[in-house]
């Protein structure tokens, strides 16, 4: 007896689960608003990437051309494939103290795997991801970028 009920139970539960799947695809079919395809080159002007999209590593600067990078080199240590090179510089501040700042924060976009470790480990949130994704260039040397802008300084209060 139990095997007979089992048999019919299997049939009905199977049909029920199939119908659930069909309900989902049927709903997708009749709701064109859910289409995720982007007609990319056509909507280039209006295309907006998501906040979490990892385009390329940048160093945000404020309006006074100041960044938060202290030149500690943790990002360089954490980068799995040597994408980042931090070239530090010793300067003497007004009150006579020696301070380590960055001369150049070099980023090799051509080697980057966009793992995001550098952004994650930075103790002063100096690095971020931009949403630019059109990286194709004709010359490979253009993929090597200096992230700190010329003449920029360390933001006050960041140690």
């Amino acid at each position: 007896m139990s095997s007979v009920t089992q048999y019919f139970k299997e049939i009905f539960s199977g049909v029920w689960s199939l119908l659930k799947g069909m309900a989902l695809t049927g709903r997708y079919f009749f709701s064109p608003g859910e289409i995720v395809t982007q007609k990319y080159p056509d909507n280039r002007k209006t295309l907006k990437m998501y906040d979490r999209f990892k385009g390329e590593v940048i160093m945000p600067h404020n309006y006074k051309n100041e960044h938060k990078c202290t030149g500690c080199g943790i990002c360089e240590l954490n980068c799995p494939n040597g994408t980042i090179e931090v070239i530090p510089l010793q300067i003497v501040t007004e009150d006579g103290k020696k301070q380590r700042v960055i001369d150049k924060h070099i980023y090799h976009l051509g080697m980057c795997t966009f793992c995001g470790l550098c952004v994650k480990v930075c103790p002063s949130q100096a690095l971020a991801f931009s949403q630019k994704f059109e990286h194709a260039v004709f010359d490979r040397s253009k993929l090597t970028k200096v992230l700190n802008q010329p003449g920029s300084k360390l933001m006050k209060g960041v140690e």
């Binding site: 049939i11 199939l18 799947g21 069909m22 695809t25 997708y28 079919f29 995720v36 395809t37």
Partner: protein, 362 residues
């Protein structure tokens, strides 16, 4: 010229008469055969192109994509471009293949689907050959395509092709039973095998509605089993791209591959046509007994439109099945047929015989 979209038999009779007046009966018959052949070839090519486009669009919408949208408005010329690409592809001869069988296989597949089309009633009077054993003929001929698939797999000299062909053989031998039995259930209800009479018997209610529960169960089983019979997903393990590259047509290229491809889509069309003819009244408009005004409005649409509309719905359902379910394994496939569909089908046949015996159908 007598052309009446609601009853095309006078139009075909007019062609027959004028041909017989102009020449001897032998020549007239020959020319009629030629006309019918050309019309079917055109329908075949156009329906194939349209179905491939429809499949890609339906698939895309079910997966929240856009589908072809570059060539022409909504990408409607995409399949035409694909067809030209396939026509210009090189036909690669396979070393150590069985040349005769290798070249014969696509034609068997395509001829099988072509022969089936002749027996389908497209509209009142638009029916190439109205056999009194029409359903029997369709079942017999449509199972011929498995011969082509087996030949293709065997002659390709490729292990994947052979595995695909063997799977296809096991599958069609099993599911042919279910298709046949579910159709027989409806033959019991209709009391005839002649397709034109089956359609005529559904004037006051399609069999899906007048046949009570047995007809409904038979309809579901027919849909499942015929999807398996035409080698479409979720029963496409004869092709199984992920396991067997392309199954039985791995070694085919160019126009020969196009034949297999086209035959698959036309078989879908044929299966939908049969489902429409025996379950949904074929070209018969939707009538309710006693509602004369309503019936008049329904009669206003020509039978061809009714036929095409119903067929499109069934085709859409078959595509819906394909793009929802994952592919079955071969043991699951055989289990589904022999442990579930076949016993249910046999009980269903008995139930239908009982319904007919008691006169509950109408």
């Amino acid at each position: 010229m007598e052309f009446n979209i609601y009853d095309l038999s006078s139009f075909t009779a007019w062609i027959d008469r004028s041909l017989n007046n102009a020449m001897s009966p032998g020549w007239a018959t020959a020319i009629e055969l030629l006309i019918i052949g050309l019309v079917f070839l055109m329908v075949y090519a156009l329906a194939g192109l349209f179905l491939i486009y429809a499949e890609r669009k339906v698939c895309a919408f079910m997966q929240n994509r856009l589908g072809p949208n570059r060539l022409g408005p909504y990408g409607i010329f995409q399949t035409i471009a694909d067809m030209f690409k396939l026509l210009f592809n090189e036909i690669i001869p396979i070393r150590n293949s069985d040349k005769i069988l290798f070249n014969l296989a696509p034609y068997i597949v395509i001829v099988a689907s072509f022969l089936t089309m002749g027996a389908i009633p497209f509209a009142k009077g638009l029916h190439a050959i109205d056999l009194n054993i029409g359903i029997f003929y369709i079942i017999a001929i449509s199972s011929m395509s498995v011969v082509g698939v087996l030949l293709a797999g065997w002659s390709s000299n490729n292990k994947y092709s052979l595995i695909g062909a063997m799977r296809s053989g096991a599958q069609i031998v099993s599911y042919e039973l279910s298709v046949g039995l579910s159709v027989i259930t409806l033959v019991v209800l209709a009391g005839t095998m002649q397709l034109s009479e089956i359609v005529e018997a559904q004037r006051w209610g399609w069999f899906l509605f007048t046949g009570h529960i047995p007809a409904f169960i038979a309809f579901i089983i027919f849909l499942v089993a015929s999807t398996a019979e035409i080698n479409r997903g979720p029963f496409d393990l004869a092709e199984a791209e992920s396991e067997l590259t392309a199954g039985f047509h791995t070694e085919y290229s160019g126009i020969k591959f196009a034949f297999f491809f086209l035959a698959e889509f036309i078989n879908m069309f044929i299966v939908s046509s049969i489902a429409v003819t025996i379950f949904l009244g074929g070209w018969m408009p939707f009538h309710v007994y006693g509602w004369d005004g309503f019936n008049k409005v329904m009669d206003f649409f020509p039978p061809v439109l009714w036929y095409l509309g119903k067929t499109a719905v069934i085709i859409w359902v078959i595509m819906w099945l394909k793009w929802t379910f994952p592919r079955l394994r071969i043991d699951q496939l055989l289990k589904l047929e022999w442990k579930y569909l076949l016993p249910i089908n046999l009980v269903n046949l008995l139930m239908m015989a009982f319904v007919v015996l008691m006169g509950w159908h109408w």
